[in-house]
Symmetry: C2
C-alpha cells in the first residue's frame, strides 16, 4: 500500500510516496534529503531525528537516545520508523554544506589532444582506395576506433575535402566535416568520504573553468569508511548500490559543470579521480571488504584506467577515467595528491603534511624519504560522536572566542546556531582550557572556570557540560565531558602518529621546516587554537601553510600532465606506509599525547 509523506524542511515542503513496510530513513535518503547519519541507520547516532505527525509509538532505543521531552514533542529516529500510514515529517537541518574546494587555480598543462585539419580527395575510379586507408594515407599511424569507422563514410562525403580530426597522439577521438576547433576539457574529481568536488579544467590552458561540489550520496549508508564497507560487503547488490550512488553523484556534478560552462558532457575528454582507497574501490565497484579486517589488504593500489561507460559517466565515448594510485588501504590517492600539491616530495627540508578529514592522515619527509600513517582521528573533528556535533553545514558553530566573560559564536552562513563543527569544537576546547574550565588532563572543572559561567554549567551525574549558546536557545548547544574525550582521542592519535614517523626517520619535531594542512577542516581551523590544544605541535605554529583541497589540486595536476600522473605512480610506490597498530611505541605515545598539557 502507498502512503503520502509530507516533508517539511528549511527549503520548503515536498511530498514523497512510500510503501507499507518501507524504512522512513531510507525513504528520506532516497529522496536525497541529505540528512546526517554517521551510524548508517542503525539507531545509534541519533542524527536522523525528525518530528512526526502522527508520531506513533517509540521503541526503547529511541526513548533512551531522545529522552522523554523530545518523544513527547513527536521526535523520532527516522531509521527506527516503519512506514504504515500517511505522515507529516519535519526536518530541522538542511544539507547545504560548506565544502572546501579551494586550492591552486591554474596549473601547467601539457595537452595530449589536438584538432587537426586534413584535406582528403574523394575516391575516384583512378584512386578507389577505401575510406579508412584514405584517411590513414593522410595521417599515417592513425588508429581509428570502431565507432568512428562507422561514422567515416558519411563524414568523408559531407566533408567535401576538408575534415577535422580530434586526436590524442595516434588515436582518433572525433571526426567532423569542415574546419572545427573547440576548447578541450577534462574534469578532476576529489571523492571524499563526506564530500565530492569536481573541477572542470581547460586542458590546453590549465585554467580551472568551473567548480562544483556536493555531499557524497553514500552518506546515508554511513559516515565513515568502515560503516560503508560493512554495508557494501553484504551482497553484490549492496556493492553495486554504493557504486551507483557515488557515480550518480559525480554524474550530477558533471552535469552542473557542463551546464555552467555551456558545453555537452561528451566534451569532457578525460577525468582523474582522487579518493581514499575505500572510496576508490567503491567508485570502481570493487569489493573493499578486506580493507576492513587484518591484514587490511586492498584489492588494488595502482592507477586504474577505466572508461566513462564502465562507470555510467556520459563523458566522451572514448574518454578515460584515471583512478589515481594509492599507497595502502588507509593512505589513498587523496594523500598522494596532497603531497603533489604541497610539493614536499621535491623539497630538501623535512616537511609534514596533515590531512584531517573523516580520517586523519599524515606524511612526513622530503625528496629523499617519505613515510605516512593514518589514524581514525577525523570523525570527532567533523562533528561525529560529538553530542551537538554537526558537519560544516549552515548553522554550525565554526568559531568560538571569549570576550570578557561572554562567549562569542560564529556560525556558517550567520544562521542561528544548530550545532558545533570541527573548527568550533577546537576553539571551544581551547577557550575552556585557557579559562581553566577544562583541566590539562581534559576534565571539565566548573569550579575553576569563570564565575560568570555558573549558569552555563549543566550537571549530568558525575560529569559536567557547558552550555555554549545563550540562555534563550532551545535546545541549547552544549560541550560535554565526552566530547572533550573524543577530541583527546583524535589529537592524541595525530600527535602520536607524528612522533612515530619522526622516530622512524630519526628526527625530532624541531627538524620539521614546513607543515602543510590539507582538507576542509585544516583550512577552517584556527591554527593557534589547534596548537593550543596540542592537535599540532605548538613549536610549529608559525610554519603552518594551508593548502586547501590538496586532493583536488593534485587531481588537477594529474589531469593536465601525464608526467604528473607518473609522479603520482612513483609517489604511491615511494611513500612507505607505517601501520600504527603494529608499532610497539604507538600505544604509549598515544596515551601520553592525550593530555592537553602537564598537570600543574
Amino acid at each position: 500500500m502507498e502512503h503520502r509523506i509530507r516533508l517539511h524542511t528549511p527549503e520548503g515542503t515536498r511530498v514523497l510516496t512510500a510503501r507499507t513496510g518501507d524504512n522512513l530513513y531510507q525513504v528520506l535518503a532516497a529522496a536525497r534529503v541529505g540528512m546526517e547519519a554517521p551510524c548508517g541507520g542503525k539507531g545509534t547516532c541519533g542524527k536522523c531525528r525528525v518530528t512526526l505527525v502522527p508520531a506513533g509509538e517509540a521503541g526503547a532505543e529511541e526513548a533512551a537516545l531522545l529522552g522523554e521531552e523530545a518523544l513527547a514533542r513527536g521526535e523520532r529516529l527516522s531509521c527506527r520508523v516503519t512506514v504504515n500510514r500517511d505522515l507529516e515529517v519535519t526536518l530541522k537541518t538542511a544539507a547545504s554544506a560548506r565544502i572546501m574546494t579551494a586550492g591552486r587555480d591554474a596549473f601547467t598543462a601539457r595537452c595530449p589532444y589536438r584538432w587537426e585539419q586534413v584535406t582528403l580527395p574523394l575516391p575516384s575510379l583512378e584512386d578507389p582506395l577505401d575510406d579508412e586507408s584514405r584517411l590513414r594515407r593522410a595521417c599515417p599511424q592513425l588508429e581509428i576506433p570502431y565507432p568512428l569507422l562507422k561514422e567515416l563514410p558519411a563524414v568523408l562525403r559531407q566533408a567535401e575535402g576538408t575534415l577535422s580530426l580530434l586526436r590524442r597522439e595516434n588515436r582518433l577521438l572525433e571526426l567532423a566535416p569542415g574546419k572545427v576547433s573547440r576548447p578541450l576539457y577534462g574534469v578532476a574529481v576529489d571523492i571524499g568520504t563526506t564530500t565530492l568536488v569536481a573541477y572542470l579544467m581547460d586542458l590546453q590552458t590549465g585554467a580551472t573553468c568551473q567548480v562544483a561540489s556536493a555531499l557524497n550520496p553514500q552518506r546515508p549508508r554511513g559516515d565513515d569508511v568502515i560503516t560503508r564497507m560493512d554495508y557494501a560487503r553484504q551482497s553484490g547488490e549492496a556493492l553495486a548500490e554504493m557504486q551507483a550512488l557515488v557515480c550518480g553523484g559525480i554524474g550530477e556534478l558533471l552535469e552542473r559543470l557542463c551546464a555552467a560552462q555551456g558545453i555537452a558532457s561528451r566534451e569532457i575528454l578525460s577525468m582523474t579521480v582522487a579518493g581514499n582507497t575505500v572510496m576508490s574501490h567503491l567508485f570502481a565497484g570493487i569489493d573493499p571488504q578486506h580493507i576492513a579486517t587484518v591484514p587490511f589488504a586492498p584489492a588494488f593500489t595502482r592507477r586504474l584506467t577505466l572508461r566513462g561507460s564502465d562507470l555510467g559517466l556520459a563523458i566522451h565515448p572514448q574518454g578515460e577515467v584515471e583512478l589515481l594510485p594509492h599507497v595502502a588501504s588507509y593512505v589513498g590517492a587523496d594523500i598522494v595528491c596532497s603531497v603533489m600539491a604541497s610539493g614536499m616530495d621535491q623539497q630538501d627540508a623535512l616537511c609534514l603534511m596533515v590531512d584531517i578529514g573523516t580520517n586523519g592522515e599524515m606524511v612526513l619527509g622530503n625528496r629523499e624519504t617519505l613515510v605516512a600513517c593514518s589514524t581514525a582521528a577525523g570523525p570527532a573533528l567533523e562533528g561525529a560522536h560529538i553530542r551537538c556535533g554537526l558537519g560544516g553545514v549552515e548553522g554550525a558553530i565554526s568559531h568560538v572566542t571569549r570576550e570578557g566573560d561572554a562567549l562569542r559564536l560564529t556560525t556558517i552562513g550567520d544562521a542561528p546556531p544548530r550545532g558545533l563543527c570541527g573548527s568550533g569544537l577546537v576553539d571551544a576546547i581551547a577557550v575552556l582550557l585557557e579559562a581553566g574550565a577544562v583541566s590539562p588532563a581534559g576534565r571539565m572543572d566548573p569550579d575553576e572556570g569563570p564565575e560568570a559561567w555558573e549558569d552555563r554549567w549543566i550537571f549530568e551525574g558525575r560529569s559536567a557540560a557547558l552550555r555554549l549558546t545563550g540562555a534563550e536557545a532551545d535546545p541549547p548547544i552544549v560541550l560535554c565531558q565526552r566530547d572533550i574525550r573524543e577530541v583527546q582521542l583524535a589529537k592524541g592519535a595525530i600527535a602520536a602518529g607524528i612522533e612515530v614517523m619522526l622516530g622512524q626517520m630519526g628526527r625530532s619535531v624541531e627538524d620539521i621546516a614546513q607543515v602543510y594542512l590539507a582538507g576542509g577542516f585544516g583550512s577552517f581551523m584556527d591554527k593557534r587554537n589547534a596548537c593550543a590544544i596540542g592537535l599540532l605541535p605548538p613549536q610549529l605554529q608559525d610554519r603552518i601553510t594551508v593548502i586547501g583541497n590538496g586532493a583536488g589540486s593534485g587531481a588537477r595536476m594529474a589531469l593536465l600532465d601525464s608526467a604528473e600522473r607518473e609522479r603520482a605512480d612513483a609517489l604511491a610506490r615511494r611513500i612507505s606506509f607505517i601501520e600504527l597498530s603494529a608499532c610497539p611505541d604507538f600505544q604509549d605515545l598515544f596515551m601520553e599525547k592525550m593530555a592537553f598539557g602537564e598537570e600543574e
Copy 2:
C-alpha cells in the same frame, strides 16, 4: 487490427499474427519461413509466390508474372499482398538448403591461450600487499582487465593458495580458484551472401569439432549484395536491422555449435569471420552504400578486430572477433581465405582460383604476383533470374544426364523436382548443346534436337523452351531461351575475366597449371560439363581441383594461427584488383566468350 495467418508449409502448419497494413512477404520473412526472393520483395522475381485463401484481387504486375491460370488457382506474390483479413497461406517450398561446409578438416594450430597454475600466499600483516600486486608479483607483466580485477578479491580468498589463470600472452582472461584446465575453443565463420557456415575449432589441436550452417537471415531483404546495400542505405535503422539479422543468425549458429559440443558460449575465446566486403560491412554495421556506386569505395578493407559485445555475440567477455581483410569492394575476405586454402600464393606455378557464389570472383597468380577480378556472374548459377531456378535446396535438380532419348534428373534429397539449381542448369545446357538442341550461339533449336523430344518443346512467341520433367509433372520444370542467355552472360563474364587477368600477366590459358574451384557451386558442378559449355577453359579440364568452402577453410587457418592472419593481411595488400568495367578489352572479350563454340 490483428489478423490470423494460418501458414501451411511442407514442414507443417503454423499460425502467425499480423496487423492491418502489414506486407505479407515481410510477415513471412520475419517468421523465418526461409522463402527465396532474389529481388528483395520488389515484385519482380516471382519467387515469393504463395497460394492464398481468400485470394483477393491481384495487381497488374502479379498477373503479368504469374499468368491467368496461377491467378485462378489463388496464387499471389506475397510481396504484393497487404494484410487486411485473416488468411490461409500455402507455401510449396521449404528452406532446407544444401550448404557447402566441407573443406580441410584439420589444421596446424599455434594456440596463444594457456591455463597456468600459480601459488599465492594470502596477505598477512608482514606482507599486506594488495591483491593485484600480489598476483603480479607471481606473474610479472600480467595485464589484469577491470572485470577480472573485480573478481580478484573473492577468487584469491576462495583459492586458499592455488589459483588458475587463463591467459593470452600477458593478458589475463579468466581466474579460477584451484586447479582448472579446459579445452580452448574458437569459431571460424564464413558469411556468404546466401549462407552462413560456422566451425567450432579446438584451438590447441586444430581439430574441427562441430560445423553448423544456415541461410543468411538477410535474404528476405534481397538475394544479392546490391539489393541488400540498397535496403541498408535507406536509414540508420535499416542498416542496424541488417546487422542484427546477420549477427542474430551467427548467434544461433554459435548456440548450436556449443550445444552439440556441450560447452557454454563464453568458452569461445576468439572468432574469425570471412565474408565478402559487403557482408563484412553489414556484419560490422558500417554503411556499405558507397560500394554500390562508382568508384565503388568501401569504408574499410583492413582486418578489423571487434569485441563479441560490439556484435551482440555472447562469446567470452574478452573474446575478439577478427573480420578478415578485403582486397577491394568486390574481392573480399572470402576470396583472400580461398587463396590461403588453395595455397596458390605459395606456389611457383601459375594457378587460377575461381569462386562462383552469388558473385563470380577469380584470382590468378602464384608466389610472385596475384591479380583478381569480380563479375556479377553468380546469381544465374545460384538459380536467380532463371525461370524455374532454385537455390541448392531439397527438390532442386542438381544433375541432368541424357540416357538415350530420355533425360535423367537427380534432385537434392531425392525429392520430387521443384526447380533447377546451378549444377543442374550447367548440365542441362551441356546436354542440350551436345544434342544439338541449343546452337553454339546459344539459340534453342527444336528442329536440331532429338526427334523424341518433340513433345518436350513449348513454344513461347518467337522462342522455345524445353520441358525437363516428365509429362506428368505439374507445374513442369522447363529451361527457356532466357535462361540460356543468363548462363551465357555469366560464363562470358567469367571467361572474359580470366582472359583479362591472363593478358595483364602476359600469360595464356595453357600456362595455368592448376585451377582451384571454391564454393558450393564449384563443388557440386560437373567439371566436364562446365568445360563443355565454356564456363571454364576446356583445356584445363584435367587440372581442376575442388577445394570446397575455401572461405571457411581460410577462416579456420586464420583462427588457429596468428601467422595466418598476417598472411591474410599481406594477401589483402598484395592481390591487385582489376576493375573489369574500367578495362577497355573486357567488353569485346565478354561478347566473344558468350558463345558456346564457333558456329559451324
